[in-house]
Symmetry: C2
Subunit: 137 residues, 2 copies
């Protein structure tokens, strides 16, 4: 056996076989060798690489960003600082998203607090606020 079939890789990496073909099309993982029946034969460390991808996704990296990280990993003149810069840039964008969600939350909580428990919907300050008059901030 010179490699793993796609089904084995998928099983051990915890992904769908179609996901592996998709990653290949997206150049996230390299093109594997083929056997005489045109079956893909993956090297063992593909499993590790796919799990790398999945963990990076959980940290909020897109596939495009993950590709860059993987390229850095094999690049001869990349330094640890290059990787850290990517991570810190991601932290910045996470901060932005978090701030924006927090401001949505603040506005909603404020409106909900003004809402009376069982008045008619015509007097609802939430609907009123959405319904013109001025921005919810």
């Amino acid at each position: 056996m010179v490699g793993l079939t796609i089904g084995k890789v998928a099983e051990h990496a915890g992904v769908n076989v179609d996901t592996l073909r998709y990653y290949e099309r997206q150049d996230v993982i390299g093109k594997p060798l083929r056997n005489g029946s045109n079956y893909r034969l993956y090297p063992e460390d593909t499993i590790r690489r796919v799990r790398f991808v999945k963990r990076a996704q959980e940290l909020g990296f897109s596939l495009a960003e993950i590709k860059e990280l993987l390229e850095l990993r094999v690049s001869k003149n990349a330094s640890c600082a290059n990787v850290r810069d990517q991570a810190l840039a991601k932290v910045d964008s996470l901060n932005e998203k978090i701030r924006s969600l927090q401001s949505m939350r603040r506005a909603l909580v404020k409106l909900a607090n003004e809402c009376s428990d069982d008045g008619p919907v015509g007097d609802c300050p939430i609907l009123d606020a959405l319904d013109e008059k001025g921005r919810v901030r």
Copy 2:
């Protein structure tokens, strides 16, 4: 003039005309009357309604949720509390998203702090962490 053409509504509400047609297909705004040339003629308050939609989107509501809010508004037996419940449910889901982003951020910051400024990429703790060994948490 018995109503506003789609272009006027779009201009005053700050959206694309296609967006208005899209909202109509999605039943977010009602079907307007048509004139003899089959042009849409909107009542004045459509502008207000579209702005309502845009503000609700900024608060994180999906179009489907906004539809529900708008239905509540015209529902005879809806109370203020119904609206507040929707708002609080949205707050819950915002909380979840925020927590998840914060946990990504925590993990990334931790990794970046361990990263040496200019060691070779082969020793990068970020790549190491992604690259097997165990979950980043």
